[in-house]
Amino acid sequence: MSTKKNRKQFANLCMDGTTWVDYKNPVIKEYITIYGRIKPRYYTKAPLVVQKSLARAIKNARYMGLIPFTR
């Protein structure tokens, strides 16, 4: 599914040199479905570390009213 080399593809999503995803980054809107659910890993093709960090970021952004829980 994904390898460590694959992490380069998610460089715009992660902070420089890390796998940490910022909840303030509007790019996370592309990783939720039209109904507001977090896209699964077999759609995003993200490495596991990135996917976990991404899910955390989406949950934080939802809590702060930046993106919706559902639609």
């Binding site: 902070m15 420089d16 040199g17 890390t18 940490w20 910022d22 909840y23 303030k24 980054n25 509007p26 809107k29 592309e30 934080n60 939802r62 809590y63 702060m64 009213g65 930046l66 993106i67 919706p68 829980f69």
Partner: protein
Amino acid sequence: MPPKAKKTVKKEEVNPEDIELVQYEIMAILDPDVTVDQHDKNFVALKKIVTDLGGTISHEEEWGKREFAYTIKKKTHGYYIVMNLEMDPAQMPELNAQFRITNYLVRNLIIKTPTGYTNLTYDWDAEPEVIEKKKPVVKKAPVAKKEVAPEPEPVKEIPTEEVAEVTEKAEKTEEAEATKEVAEKPAEEKVKGGEKQLEKLDEKLEELLSGDDDLNL
């Protein structure tokens, strides 16, 4: 049963130099339905809560009034504030308790930032659809040019390098064209018939214009 001895918790006195400070980020939503003066007072009071508990604010940013994705406490808008600070982690429960009892705070989020974190400003109002629409236009244009371009190239290359082969090829092509014409004549008789008529008309016109006739045009 003998009465249990009361447990006495001794507070360990910690040397302030031994405390390991942690980098935090606080995002807070202030109540937008207040006057400008009251809002400034609220913002100062919020920062005072942090600084009183030993936090040092390194960066603060105001996002301004934004619309929520869903209603929070019967409000549709909120005033967003982001602060980066350095603080003793032992004080965080107290900070949370203080935030919980502040009236003007709609919602707040405290996270630990990773090492090497730098403040970046993001534009949430930019529409990603506009960027996606521009991409295919750029990609399609060179593809169309490539299809057209290769055709004239071989014609230019032949006379410069391979003169001897060109003559041979030309003879072959002439023969091939002759055979093709023979084969294609029945199919293209109607088209060529029209062309012949035009050629005849052209010849007549030339004869008339040349003045060899007695018409004196």
